[in-house]
């Protein structure tokens, strides 16, 4: 259940931002979850709902954007459908993962500032 420690890092980061900008409230937090980020979006949300009480995120909605893992040939650009061997046989090169497919990113924090 590493989702709890990830949510902790998220909330810590938002807390720092709030301090830096003297924000009075946080309305929304947007996180993108790559299909290969090793994070279960459902568990992440549950962890967030549990953990945010008493933190700056207490009233902040969590928006989760899932990013599919999309692989393509770096030489010819052909996309490799999910489940296929991760290589382009005509070009003889390994497939490359598009950005975001394996990342867990804090995208946006919407907050009220004076």
């Amino acid at each position: 259940m590493h989702e709890y420690s990830l949510v902790q890092s998220l909330v810590d980061r938002v807390e720092t931002l709030v301090r830096e900008r003297s924000a009075t409230a946080v309305h929304r937090v947007v996180v993108s979850v790559g299909e290969l980020a090793g994070v279960d979006p459902g568990l992440f949300r549950t962890a967030y709902e549990t953990f945010r009480d008493g933190t700056v995120c207490e009233r902040a909605a969590l928006e989760l954007r899932t990013v599919p893992a999309s692989w393509a040939c770096p030489a010819c650009g052909r996309s490799i459908p999910p489940g296929e061997v991760l290589a382009c046989s005509p070009c003889g090169v390994p497939a490359r993962l598009a950005a975001g497919g394996d990342a867990l990113l804090l995208e946006t924090v919407e907050m009220e500032v004076p």
Binding site: M1, H2, S5, L6, S9, L10, D12, R13, L17, R21, T24, A25, H27, R28, V31, L36, A37, G38, V39, A69, W71, G83, E84, V85, L86, A87, P94, A95, R96, L97, D102, A103, L104, L105, L106, E107, T108, V109, E110, M111, E112, V113, P114
Partner: protein, 246 residues
């Protein structure tokens, strides 16, 4: 009070960040990597399911190395120091990292474990992660490479079921191959699964028990050591080059 327009209201601003939630861990991992690189130590993150044969692999490595490398290890364990003690017995100076509830190691746990451990004198530093096919993959520790042990007893479907772990692997060791005659498992099917989740599938079939495949693993280690950036023969700046471990 808004100082820009004087409207007296607070403003709702979207702060665009687009930053990794694990950025804090990644910073410590980068710091660890700098330590290892500066000291010329090949650090490997050894992962795999509980019981995949990670500790047995390291024991077999000690037997096969014939003293050619100075090795050391830290091993992550929820509650015990059993693996560290097994490794000590096999001639690999080791230290346990007890993670309690934590199902994975992180860069700070590894950094803290370096205190008072003679890691700087090593050629090979093994970080045996907590037995788990999911979370360890997402925490960078500062290793030079990820090695994943997958025993042939775990079933052909594991690569497809745990793509995150295998995608992050630089090398997959199919362990316990001495058991193949007793199993109905198709190694070719495991390899095929790996090709569908790993863009650079590098796989060695081996047995810690019989030693089959261990020479290929030793050769892989040799090659990774040879590929390390050359260790600096001098120190730079006042007080020496890489900072002493704090």
């Amino acid at each position: 009070m808004c100082t820009t327009c004087g409207c007296g209201d607070t403003h709702l601003v979207p702060v665009e960040l687009h930053e990794k939630i694990l950025a804090g861990n990644d910073r410590v991992a980068t710091h660890n990597r700098e330590h290892f690189t500066a000291a010329g130590v090949l650090a490997l993150n050894v992962m795999g399911s509980p019981g995949a044969g990670k500790t047995a692999l390291l024991e077999a490595t000690a037997r096969a190395s014939g003293g050619r490398w100075r090795m050391g290890a830290v091993s992550g364990d929820l509650a015990t120091d059993r693996d560290a003690r097994r490794l000590e017995k096999a001639g690999i100076p080791s230290r346990a990292i007890t993670t309690g509830q934590g199902c994975h190691l992180d860069a700070t746990l590894v950094h803290d474990a370096l205190h008072g451990f003679p890691w700087e004198e090593l050629d090979l530093f093994f970080i045996e992660n907590v037995g788990n096919l999911v979370c360890p993959a997402i925490y960078d520790l500062g290793q030079a490479a990820n090695v994943v042990a997958l025993s042939v007893t775990e079933g052909e479907d594991k690569p497809l079921k745990y793509p995150v772990m295998f995608q992050a692997a630089d090398l997959v060791l199919l362990t316990k191959c001495d058991l193949l005659p007793h199993l109905e498992v198709d190694v070719e099917q495991i390899r095929d699964g790996l090709r569908r989740v790993m863009p650079h599938p590098e796989v060695i079939l081996l047995s810690a028990k019989t030693g089959e495949g261990i020479p290929a693993w030793v050769a892989w280690l040799e090659a990774r050591r040879a590929a390390l950036p050359r260790r600096h023969g001098h120190t730079h700046g006042p007080g020496g080059g890489h900072h002493h471990h704090h």
